[in-house]
Amino acid sequence: MTLAPTDTEDLAKGGEPRINDFAVKFANVNGTGSASANNLILRAIFRMGVPVSGKNLFPSNIQGLPTWYEIRVSGKGHTSRSRRYDLMVAMNGQTYAEDIGQLGAGGFVLYDSTWPLPATLLREDVNFLGVPLARLCGDAFSGPRERILMKNIAYAGAVSYLIGIDPQVLAELLEESYSGNPALRDSNQKALRLGYDYAEANLPATLPFRLRTDTGTKGKILIDGNTATALGCLYAGATVAAWYPITPATSVAENFQKLCERHRRRKVTLADGSVETRNDYVILQAEDELAALGMVIGASWAGARAFTSTSGPGISLMNELLGLAYYTEIPAVVINVQRTGPSTGMPTRVQQADLLECAYASHGDTKHILLLPADPKECFEFAVQAFDLAERFQTPVMMLSDLDIGMNDWVVDKLSWDDDYRPDRGRVLSDAEIEEVGHFYRYGDEDSEFVAPRTLPGLTEHGAYFTRGSGHDRYGLYTEDAGAYAEVVERLARKVEASADRLPKPVIQSKPGANIGVITMGSCEAAVIEALQLLESEGMTLDYMRVRGFPFGSEVKAFLDAHERCMVVEQNRDGQLRSLLILEAGGDGRRLTSVLSFGGLPMSADQVAEGIRNEMQE
């Protein structure tokens, strides 16, 4: 699983530095405030118009353990994780050896030269750039807290110099970030200069790789998936959220809370003339995930758009109530930001291993609608769709994001909103409508998509019905009759099947003459697309499909049929997407092979390419 250090020296051969095509890795100690320094660099690069991605490889711990941050700069827009680093910002003594070992020949190490590097770490084929950060900050700042924090900004200054970040952009960013706190802005500014100036004075003027201002991020934003998801929920008109904290889903609810505080508060004038703030939302931090989904079911049953966000362990705990919502036909939006399983697993590592669990969650015959976004933009869009689908089909809809999408910053097209959008509330009857029809059969009278009408508690005078997770007939009455029971569950199967037509279509790229396909989902996309380009340059032409929803539609089936062979790239051990394609899209197991990565780190293009090459040779 570990990549042998690759030779990067040749990259510098030409004399001219490589422009907008390199990777920097930051090795830090968590809880020391390095995140803001690294983020500053990421945002500065973005501001310079250069596509960039940042991957945070952090431990499940609060303070004191090693943590890494990887920045990949790619003028071509490749944002998957790179496993070749050009510059290692080695700020953690505990992991010096490991970090330096990961560099290819000709790579650069930036370290804190306040203390000499142990001789055993020195490598002949790597360039060591020392900046006496602790000393510089010790002299310039007082108090241990400030010194530690400012050391981070100082190395950011040095890195900025080395890779060519526009100091003007940095200054602007600090100005914006600390507009409310001039003192903090000034000390940040000072620390940044400290590093920058020292580097300018003491380090090589140009490295073999460098930034150049470009226009590659025009019309784009830098956003993480959880923020985008929360925005989607806000825009979809969700008014109730219920959640239980869990990494990496926590920031979905926390962002939703922040957004609601800004966009869902109104001043109202009370009878006595006084003015009060009123909230057009309720956010419930539940006692556990069972309760969180229970609250969502209650709120959705009552007619609100409601959602919960969780990760694997929470999904497991929600199994029983997912079945309840499925069988009683209550909308429920569940955001699953996937992490590495099984069990507690690696809570701060990514995986796509909840696919089967979510598709068939709960005992008995069930099947659930899934949405599979690949990046924050799709998180925003699919979150909105999730509510429409849940209400249209009166059933749980799970959006499977993951830690990589959810917690890392991605460059995506600016989000857009159509002001003509109106929620699809599905079949909700009013008193007038019931009177018109003359009857109301809660689980009968289905439309062409097999959806039956519902009414909302407390809102209709004549539409009351009794909701039960026990056997019921088309009228909603209790039954133990085989036929009456079967009629309802058969309709359920057809209903979920019918939803396929309304789900986001797969993304397909067909190449003339290709008869082998590569299929993937979610956050694998960037790595797979890049790998396909790589392979194409080697003469291997492959078709591409990324599935975006389950149940699969006809396009997915057609793609499978049209290809002699497909490789399914996914981040889990058991090839769960492949399984689902076999079961639910008529895929032939013999013609579907897996390319897997499941160690918990985001996929890189070379991993994918290697996996595909191996499979092709077999």
């Binding site: 219920a242 057009d280 007619g303 508690p457 009351a464």
Partner: protein, 351 residues
């Protein structure tokens, strides 16, 4: 056509309430519980309480878990939406429904298995949140529907039908609720409608979660001597320290101290409930005294019933949250969605 309300043709003889409805209008479907089950008496009390309160039948929302007790929701007010959900999960589902639409009377019905075992965590947190609802535990000390296992409220040493003695200390929902800071705690007995109906009415008017532990004997599995949940036992040992007497008009704000053995408690919607306390000094607004009273009674082998504690000053979920008065479900989408211009503005922080 299960959900079309039966036509309202009041029979001459049937008394009507303030909104012109008869008791019939608050009834539900036929009970399928055992003849003589305590739970059916609770159903009857609820029907009467709703009738006397003149609540529009469709403005009630009925929720329950799973169990014989939880079937109760089907047996009253068929013009109200009901939800017989999953075992132990009534509280969170009610919490969510109430969050979405604050403009209804939420009645949750549960059993001792449903609330004190599988749903214990949820009950604790619903109490803590003070969700605005009536929370009835039909407490029979057994798992009725699964045929007679002991529940967590079974008494030490009480012998179940199959003759084995229960050996684990019971959980008393009343003490639990008091210790958790519940804002309304009462206990009653299914066999005593004179007491139960006024308590239900008071609970319906309470702001926040009103917990009522109703001892409701299971004739099938727990109605034998020796069990403290049987009719015999309760009749003999019940200690009625409070004779509630409901007055549905008038408005008063303050909670009076007990005087002449009685106390007036102003309910949230302005209704007044006068509680007569058997011990002249009983004050249902003093939590500690309530705990002491219950402890003392238990020590004497007595079951205190009545409105044991009430505090109208504890804010409910919505008050704490400053939720809009308009139920969330009735807010138009246009007011909820910030729109494209705002989205554009928002994204300034993402570049």
């Amino acid at each position: 056509m299960p959900s079309i309300k039966k036509p309202l043709i009041p029979l001459a003889a049937m008394p009507t309430n303030e909104i012109g409805l008869t008791m019939r209008d608050y009834e539900g479907s036929m009970s399928t519980l055992c003849a003589g089950c305590g739970h059916d008496s609770v159903t009857a009390a609820i029907v009467r309480a709703l009738f006397e309160l003149s609540i529009p039948p469709h403005k009630v929302v009925k929720l329950s878990g799973i169990g014989c007790s939880s079937k109760t929701t089907a047996y009253f007010d068929s013009a109200a939406h009901g939800f017989n959900s999953a075992h132990g999960r009534m509280a969170p589902i009610a919490t969510g429904a109430n969050a979405a639409n604050r403009d209804a009377l939420y009645i949750g019905i549960s059993g001792d298995g449903d609330s004190l075992s599988i749903g214990a965590g949820h009950m604790v947190h619903a109490i803590r949140r003070n969700v605005h609802m009536v929370y009835v535990i039909e407490n029979n000390g057994v798992y009725g529907l699964t045929k007679g296992q002991f529940s967590a409220s079974a008494d030490i040493g009480s012998a179940a039908k199959h003759g084995k003695a229960n050996t684990v200390a019971p959980i008393d929902p009343v003490m639990l609720a008091l210790s958790l800071g519940a804002s309304f705690v009462a206990r009653s007995f299914s066999g005593d409608k004179e007491q139960l109906v006024p308590i239900l009415k008071a609970a319906a008017q309470h702001r926040g979660l009103a917990l009522i532990d109703v001892i409701s004997p299971c004739v099938q599995f727990n109605n034998h001597n020796g069990s403290t949940k049987s009719y015999r036992y309760v009749r003999e040992h019940e200690l009625r320290e409070i004779e509630p007497d409901f007055i549905s008009t008038g408005r008063e704000i303050v909670v009076d101290l007990p005087r002449d053995g009685s106390v007036m408690v102003a309910m949230h919607d302005g209704g007044l409930v006068r509680f007569r306390t058997l011990p002249a000094e009983y004050d249902p607004t003093d939590r500690e005294a309530a705990m002491h009273y219950v402890n003392q009674a238990h020590a004497r082998g007595e079951i205190p019933t009545g409105l044991l504690f009430v505090d109208e000053s504890v804010p409910d979920v919505h008050e704490l949250n400053h939720t809009s008065e308009t139920p969330l479900v009735e807010l138009p989408f246009e007011e909820l969605c910030p729109g494209s211009t705002e989205l554009e503005a928002l994204q300034q922080s993402f570049v």
